[in-house]
């Protein structure tokens, strides 16, 4: 069935691109410190992002407009300047973390210091965007990203106690470090409900020329892709819990986690971790730089397309070029990837309400969605997610200060 094959491809794409510096870093820290107690945060975040992604895809398929464009058109520039600045800023910061993540992967593989890899990492991402098309980015990320399944293999191989795993899926209060637990929970949810994934998804749907026949595969991809992806994030947390927590190892620098796969994969452990991290971060870097370019171009009304030659979308191509160059700066000056990740995740959480709140209006706008506007369930989900976004945004800074 054509619908099924579209869905299957979409799921592979989502799974392959799911694990990156934010979701990996937060999962490792959470597992090392709180064992399985924060699994519920990944579950909650995944349910939310699945709903958001489905809506974003439906909007693009029916209206042929992206979410970024629709917010400007529906709310006007005076409102839209806020999401524009907020989302591009957060995209930049997370992009800087991903460049740091790629650089760390190269350092782990070669021993050459982190700052040296800043420009090559950004340059590699730039080259792929400049010379490649959207399909290349999409499919390449998908296929290479499957290396992250090594974490699932490791989690299964370490034989975690299933009862304790199940209990971790339900929120419980920790026996120690309450503020840090809260901070980790917010960071995990922020890393999972990434604003860029939602807006990038609708841009991708328009690049792939989706129409109403894609609505059913869209639902399957949203649920299946995000669902399977979250299994990998949960696997990272489980492995960190079983490898680090028994020894009381706290992870404050990414490099401390490099040996995480050694108990299962022996000598292959470190290179495998480096490969998984590097590829995951590269995929995310591509999506983030594209997302920022998409947002600027769509909100300002420019022509845009990753499938086009750079010269046919000159302003669009300039945005990701400049952004990638700037994103290498933190790594060049010696920023540590985990510290960068934690900061960008907290800010991502603060930007989240600006993304989710407009959805309540746009997804019920018949001019865009015709007969495919939100039903009761979807609207209830949006309201709940918006409420959660505001709550998270409020507690993010205090928790960062007291628990970060």
């Amino acid at each position: 069935m054509k619908s099924l094959s579209k869905a299957a491809l979409g799921i592979v794409t989502s799974v392959g691109g799911y694990l990156e510096v934010g979701s990996t870093g937060t999962a490792i820290q959470a597992g090392a410190m709180f064992r399985f107690q924060l699994l519920w945060a990944i579950v909650l975040g995944t349910i939310c992002i699945a709903f958001l992604v489905e809506m974003s895809g439906r909007l693009a398929a029916v209206s042929r407009h992206t979410l970024g464009a629709a917010v400007r058109e529906r709310f006007g520039f005076h409102f839209d300047v806020v999401p524009l600045v907020a989302q591009v800023t957060v995209d930049y910061l997370v992009l800087a973390s991903e460049i740091a993540g790629i650089s760390l992967a190269f350092k782990l593989l070669t021993g050459v210091g982190l700052p040296w890899w800043g420009l090559p990492a950004a340059g590699l991402a730039w080259l792929i965007l400049w010379k490649g098309t959207f399909s290349v980015v999409e499919n390449g990320t998908a296929i290479l990203g499957l290396v992250t399944l090594c974490f699932v293999a490791a989690a299964v191989g370490l034989r975690p106690p299933l009862g304790e795993l199940a209990r971790g899926m339900v929120p419980t209060w920790p026996s120690h470090d309450g503020a840090h637990y809260g901070f980790m929970a917010v960071s995990i949810i922020g890393a999972t409900i990434s604003p860029y994934m939602v807006t990038f998804y609708s841009s991708g749907a328009v690049e792939d020329e989706w129409d109403e026949s894609h609505l059913k595969p869209n639902r399957i991809v949203a649920a299946g892709g995000m669902g399977f992806g979250s299994l990998i994030a949960m696997a990272v947390l489980v492995v960190a819990a079983l490898v680090f927590q028994p020894h009381g190892t706290t992870v404050t620098r990414y490099e401390q986690a490099a040996g995480i796969l050694e108990p299962v994969f022996g000598g292959w452990g470190r290179p495998l971790f480096a490969a998984a991290l590097g590829i995951g971060c590269l995929g995310a870097a591509l999506e983030l730089s594209l997302d920022a370019s998409y947002l600027v171009a769509q909100k300002l009304g420019w022509n845009w397309s990753e499938s086009a030659r750079p010269q046919d979308a000159a302003r669009f191509s300039l945005v990701y070029t400049v952004l990638l160059l700037l994103a290498s700066v933190p790594t060049l000056v010696g920023a540590e990837p985990l510290a960068l990740t934690n900061v960008s995740m907290a800010l991502s959480v603060i930007a989240l309400p600006f993304l989710t709140a407009p959805l309540l209006v746009i997804m019920n706008d018949k001019r865009y969605l015709r007969q495919y506007t939100n039903g009761k369930v979807a609207n209830l989900a949006v309201i709940a997610i918006v409420a959660l976004s505001f709550l998270l945004a409020l507690v993010a800074i205090p928790l960062e200060v007291f628990g970060g």
Binding site: G76, W302, N303, S305, P310, R367
Partner: protein, 130 residues
């Protein structure tokens, strides 16, 4: 014959040409006040300085100065008449070609002077272009 709300249906909407190519967003609307006649709408404005002015006059002036320094035609702004426009649900279609509107001044400049000069900028033509 139909009535349109200027702010709801025109301002901040996407402008495209007959081929579907993006011209820009309606960043501003120009109205002329006349002493001896009712006011009339002159044109839709497209350009970053126009957006700048909407936020703050200093920002608008700064962007205007940058565009003037770049010596771009029309100082990076374009005025598009309402003549023969088609107001659709989610965009506005104009009968002129996107490249002739003057709204793509920066796009053309970058293509000629920067992007087109970098290796691969002119690449092989891919699936489709916007």
């Amino acid at each position: 014959m139909a009535d349109y709300d200027l702010v709801r249906d025109i301002l901040d909407e996407q402008l495209v040409d007959a081929a579907g190519r993006a011209i820009g967003k309606v960043d501003g609307i120009v109205m002329e006040l006349r002493d001896d006649a009712p006011p009339r709408l002159l044109a839709m404005e497209v350009g970053l300085p126009v957006l700048g002015y909407r936020l703050h006059p200093t920002l608008g002036r700064l962007l205007e100065r940058v565009n003037r320094w770049m010596r771009l035609p029309g100082n990076g702004c374009a005025r598009l008449p309402f003549h023969e426009m088609e107001v659709r649900k989610t965009e506005i279609v104009l009968p002129v070609g996107a490249d002739t509107t003057g709204a793509l001044a920066w796009e053309h400049w970058l293509r000629r002077h920067l992007v087109g000069r970098l290796p691969g900028g002119r690449g092989r033509a891919n699936r489709r272009k916007n």
